[in-house]
């Protein structure tokens, strides 16, 4: 039973051949490396690595005599390749490998606030050069953002201190002060975030950099509780959980774009030009502002509570407009407001 079973079998076998062809030059470059270290480096078990070495030991040049076979010397737990039979270099990069490395490096180089960008750019140039035609890679990356703000935040996060931040929470339309213990900074879908333990929420939270209005480094080290786990961000920064309220909207043609911007549970064709769109929201108050902002081409189907809130908010606003307006220009001297904030909001 040496043959692997059907599913994934041929993939693992191709992986093993690739690994074996890589293993000889890898060891050749590191004479006397500990087997445990090599296994860790190559992400295989020590036992698997020893099996790989045994297999290579019986491979070699035609003739297959003692002087033709790949040879290696063991010294305790260390191994040294003493004859490579001509596979002294790794195989060149495949187009996919070159593309994956180059695109990721370009992403890094374009990410605002990345430390040592210059090293990223040097690495990119060398990889592109080595990959040659493979990456006349017709891929370009541009991730514009507020570089100054992101760099300041990165500096604060790297300082290793707890931070007091002024943060705007769109879900509740409120600005709050909170103390956070940063875990890391990352960029998801072109937006920078600080991931941190939030002492106020007593949970790990993602804070959007463009909504952090002020940062103070505190005189204490950041301490992340052991139970804190980073988010799984493979599906984007906001993954609605099934216990959040579900709302259903009847959406006219002109507002269908929301299905591209918000993760939707369901999108169905309704009557006429309308779509019935169901999505989960963190807060009904947010949903009310959202629906009001979308305008007359969107109506709430469910829950009734939300429909009432929308209607009541619109009526109350109209009542206010029915009152005589205060004079727009009757204004004393302005209080301080930071014009820089205007650039950060949408």
């Amino acid at each position: 039973m040496t043959r692997p079973t059907a599913k994934g079998g041929s993939r693992t076998s191709a992986d093993r051949l690739a690994r074996l062809l890589n293993l000889v030059p890898y060891l050749l470059a590191r004479p006397g490396i500990e087997i445990a270290e090599a296994a860790g480096d190559l992400a295989v078990t020590e036992r698997q690595l020893r099996e790989d070495l045994e297999l290579l030991w019986v491979c070699g040049l035609p003739g297959y005599g003692p002087g033709d076979l790949i040879d290696m010397a063991f010294d305790g737990d260390r191994v040294t390749i003493t004859y490579d039979a001509g596979i002294d270099r790794p195989l060149r990069l495949t187009p996919d490998e070159a593309l994956a490395l180059v695109v990721a490096l370009r992403m890094l180089a374009e990410t605002p606030g990345v430390a040592n960008r210059e090293a990223v750019e040097r690495a990119l140039a060398k990889i592109e050069n080595a990959a040659g035609d493979l990456v006349g890679a017709p891929v370009e990356v541009r991730l514009p953002a507020d570089v100054g703000r992101v760099e300041a935040l990165r500096g604060a996060v790297e300082g290793g201190r707890a931070l007091r931040i002024t943060y705007y929470t769109a879900a509740r339309d409120e600005t709050t002060e909170r103390v956070i213990d940063p875990l890391r900074m990352l960029m998801v879908s072109g937006r920078a975030y600080v991931e941190a333990w939030c002492r106020r929420a007593e949970a790990v939270r993602l804070f959007r950099a463009d909504r952090i209005d002020a940062v103070t480094e505190l005189d204490e080290s950041a301490v992340v509780p052991p139970q804190a786990r980073p988010h799984d961000l493979s599906d984007g920064a906001f993954r609605p959980s099934p216990d959040l309220p579900l709302i259903t909207l009847r959406v006219g043609r002109g507002e269908r774009w929301i299905t591209e911007y918000y993760p939707c549970e369901e999108v169905r064709a309704g009557d006429a030009d309308h779509w019935l769109v169901s999505l989960r929201v963190t807060d009904l108050g947010w949903a009310r502002r959202f629906v009001l902002g979308l305008g007359p081409d969107v109506t709430v189907v469910a829950p009734a509570e939300l429909a009432e809130q929308v209607r009541d908010a619109a009526s109350a606003a109209l009542d206010a407009y029915a009152q005589p307006a205060p004079d727009a220009r009757r204004a004393p001297a302005p209080t301080a407001a930071d014009p820089a904030l205007a650039a950060g909001s949408r």
């Binding site: 062809l21 495949t94 992403m107 891929v139 339309d173 990352l186 004393p332 302005p334």
Partner: protein, 332 residues
Amino acid sequence: MSRTRTERLVNLVICLLSTRRFLTAAQIAATVPGYEHDPDDARDHEAFQRKFERDKAELRELGVPLETGTASVFDSEPGYRIARREYALPDIPLEPDEAAAVGIAARLWQHAGLAAAASSGLAKLRAAGVDVDPQATLGLEPMVTVDPAFAPLTAAARDRREVGFDYRVPDQDAPTRRRLQPWGVVCWRGRWYVVGHDLDREATRCFRLSRVVGAVRVTGDPSAYEPPAGVDLISHVARWSGPVERTGRATVLAAPGRAAGLRRWAVEVVAGPDGDRLVLPYADPESLARHLVGYGPDVRVLDPPEVREAVIQRLKEIASRHDDLATAGGSR
């Protein structure tokens, strides 16, 4: 793949790397262990040929550059060899900080296929003697995600092959079929686009990858066209989503302690007896109105009249649309 097959393939690679002459299948069978068979026995010979074909395919899939040719004009049978220069990864002298950057880049992929490609690429660099510090960080790391259309479109753009795909724009009811000579793929503000020559519109067009429905069909031959020299792909995408100049100024009255989102946006905040006057920069009165309506009774527009009117108009329509609905829902 069994151990014997892996062993045979390693030996095949070593054998073909070591030869300058093209070796025929028969010569390979006589040399490399694992191909022993009786060439005069038709069934045995056929089994060998199938085995050899599978092995060649496996090597090519791995990216081993298998050359085909004949050793001399007298040979009719094709032979095989691997040119060392084509096989070997060229020397990439990475400094430690550069190697660290590559190591970080390789783990950014959230897409399974490209994540695997990135790590096998990194494994080759390590095999070439590059040491990668696994602890290194750059302080801020992007999650790299792509849409399913990314791989086929980059491959088509690289090979300059025409493609066809179904494309869905939300304000249309059905996807439309598009034909494109792709020039390249662009990531702009976290979204992916393909830029190229639209064969039906006969013009340069860009398409958002997330709107491609189903599979991308490669319809053309390789090298079928030439993208314009020095084309700036980003500029084609950025042209229609560039920054907006906010030169207009609106004044609104916000209820005390409310409309936190608007306050962050205001260039001026003046506290008054009936609420806070906020001065808001804007570009387009309609989109400002949309935004302000979201705050309902917490915000009242004072100036300019066109924004005020737009807000009132929207509020009226929203109220009347929801009037019946809310009542119906409440009585259930």
